[in-house]
């Protein structure tokens, strides 16, 4: 069509007809659905996939608080301001990637029979409410209970905690605009409020099986970092995109369901990516510090923070590097420097599925 074509408008029935015809050629392969059904109903884990573990955790030292960095990061939590520059000043650049990797000692918790690995991910999501001056951050708590690495029957909940940090305006202002930040309760829009935005990046598509690491998936992973990197690349539709590999590795680590040996390989694989920067002693909002792997795309800076004493992912952060539109139409554009979302992860062992560990 060209611009000199007279303007046309479809009728409602034109639209319905086109909708009914579009991509309406195929039906399901019934035998494959039957296979899927059988797999689903066999999802209860066989006994051998229950984990008996491994190395005792290394004794955790006292928290090495970084008051300045923590305070600035906490300020960033409240204001949504960027922490890039301050983190750069406070973090220690490492001359050698290898020395940073050598400082990570991945271990797994001791998991007695019948108990559960517990992973809690507190995710703060920034929203600049569409068309208003109101900005806030909302917290989603994702919890996972797994009887062991490789188990199929792990349980997950995603809950909006009801904690809101008002960055501009107040709850009353929001109410005046008719806005309803997500209330406390089960997260009905979990993809938006609970998942790191790296997962939502259109360039970062990958098979979701990596987020459900059953034993067969763990067993299939190569034993060298180079081969693991190649496997990750080949599982992606755009294998040359480092951000996709970085995103995938971050997602895998964020499940908390990959054992120490594989986490170590994942960090080694990330260190093979030329665009990935590694710094030590990067601060998290809760005061913990860790080794940070970061990667900048044209639009965002992604960061993954690892506890060097356990090799567990303890934090993620996404920062806008240019105006970021919200394709979900909930938020206005987020300006450069804004922390789009941020997660803090903790781990433990629970005696019962669905219950938090006893401290």
């Amino acid at each position: 069509m060209t611009d000199d074509t007279p303007r046309q408008l479809w009728s409602e029935s034109d639209l319905d007809e086109a909708l009914s015809l579009l991509h309406n050629e195929t039906g399901p392969d019934e035998s494959r659905l039957a296979d899927t059904r059988a797999l689903l109903l066999r999802a209860e884990p066989p006994p051998e996939t229950h984990m008996r573990l491994v190395a005792a955790p290394s004794p955790r030292g006292t928290h090495r608080w970084r008051p300045v960095a923590a305070a600035v990061t906490a300020l960033a939590l409240m204001t949504g301001a960027t922490v890039i520059a301050v983190r750069g000043e406070e973090s220690t650049p490492v001359a050698s990637r290898q020395s940073a990797l050598d400082g990570i000692h991945a271990t797994d918790p001791v998991l007695p029979e019948g108990q559960y690995l517990y992973i809690a991910d507190r995710h703060w999501k920034r929203t600049n409410a569409k068309g208003t001056p109101i900005a806030y951050r909302s917290e989603c708590l994702s919890e996972t209970w797994s009887p062991g690495f490789g188990a199929a029957d792990f349980g997950q909940t995603q809950t909006m905690t009801g904690r809101i940090q008002w960055i501009s305006s107040t709850a009353q202002d929001a109410e005046n605009y008719g806005l309803n930040p997500p209330p406390a309760g089960p997260a009905s829009n979990a993809y938006y409020y609970c998942a790191p935005s790296l997962r939502r990046d259109m360039d970062n598509e990958y098979p979701t099986r990596w987020l459900s690491p059953r034993q067969a998936i763990l067993d299939s992973l190569p034993h060298t970092a180079q081969d693991l990197l190649a496997t990750l690349r080949h599982s992606l539709p755009i294998s040359e995109a480092e951000s996709s590999v970085f995103s995938l590795a971050g997602e895998m680590l964020g499940t908390g369901l990959y054992p120490a040996s594989i986490r170590t390989r994942l960090y080694q694989a990330l260190a093979l990516l030329p665009q990935v920067a590694i710094t030590t002693d990067a601060a998290l909002p809760d005061g913990r510090t860790g080794t940070e792997f970061s990667l900048a795309t044209s639009t965002k800076l992604f960061a993954l923070t690892v506890d060097p004493r356990t090799g567990q992912l303890i934090g993620t952060r996404t920062t806008a590097l240019q105006d970021l539109p919200d394709y979900n139409d909930i938020s206005d554009d987020l300006k450069p420097g804004t922390v789009v979302d941020e997660s803090v992860l903790t781990y433990g062992v629970s005696t019962k599925r669905g219950e938090k560990p006893v401290r």
Binding site: L22, H23, T26, T157, M202, S212, N328
Partner: protein
């Protein structure tokens, strides 16, 4: 449970609603209680009821191969997160399609690429004219309309596309779409109205498409 439910065959059958089946939870399959007892039997029934339709919906969006993977992941996620389903706040179907919508986010590029590929056919009449109905002008016109629509759908935001297609392709009611997407029902209705008006204006224009 009947043989079809046990084997997973005959998946085009009507949903199982046999109240005498001990696997059917007391609250029925529309709003089942998933928190008590062995989840396998009731998930078998729920799979039989929803899997084929869910696959058809997903296949229209991202192709049949990816749809097969997504059906499995959707039900597996539902099984794992069954404690979070609240029968009093929505139907199982709405919750299930909400999970599927979340998983679809991993495949936005695939979907947009597919829509753009279809849209390009709108500019190539020889393609839309081929096929069993090629001698019927009305059918050709309808196929062309579908191809034009594809381009307009590719230009929509994810949220708008989800809302429209959950209604038009998945057959969800606006209340179920609201539950699936976690947005107010009024937002669903206003979004649907706006998107349909937008498509009626933009689809006829067509245009060159890139991946």
């Amino acid at each position: 449970m009947n043989a079809a439910a046990r084997t997973g065959r005959d998946l085009h059958m009507q949903p199982l609603t046999d109240a005498s089946d001990p696997a059917v939870p007391a609250m029925g399959l529309d709003r089942p209680d998933l928190t008590s007892g062995d989840p396998a039997p009731v998930f078998g029934l729920l799979f039989d009821r929803h899997a084929a339709a869910l696959h058809r919906y997903l296949a229209r969006r991202v192709g049949t191969e990816t749809a097969h993977d997504l059906v499995g992941e959707t039900f597996l996620t539902a099984l794992r997160q069954r404690e979070t389903y609240r029968p009093d706040t929505g139907t199982f179907r709405a919750w299930l399609y909400g999970i599927a919508t979340n998983l679809l986010r991993h495949h936005v590029r695939t979907e947009v690429r597919g829509l753009n590929a279809t849209a390009r056919l709108a500019g190539r009449d020889e393609h839309v004219a081929h096929g069993p109905d090629s001698h019927v002008p009305a059918a050709v016109d309808a196929q062309r309309k579908a191809a034009l629509l594809a381009g307009a759908l590719a230009d929509l935001s994810e949220a708008d596309r989800d809302t429209l297609l959950l209604v038009s392709w998945a057959g969800l009611e606006p209340a179920e779409v609201a539950e699936a997407l976690g947005i107010p029902q009024g937002t669903v209705r206003s979004r649907l109205h706006r998107v349909r008006r937008q498509l009626r204006a933009s689809a006829p224009k067509g245009g060159d498409r890139d991946d």
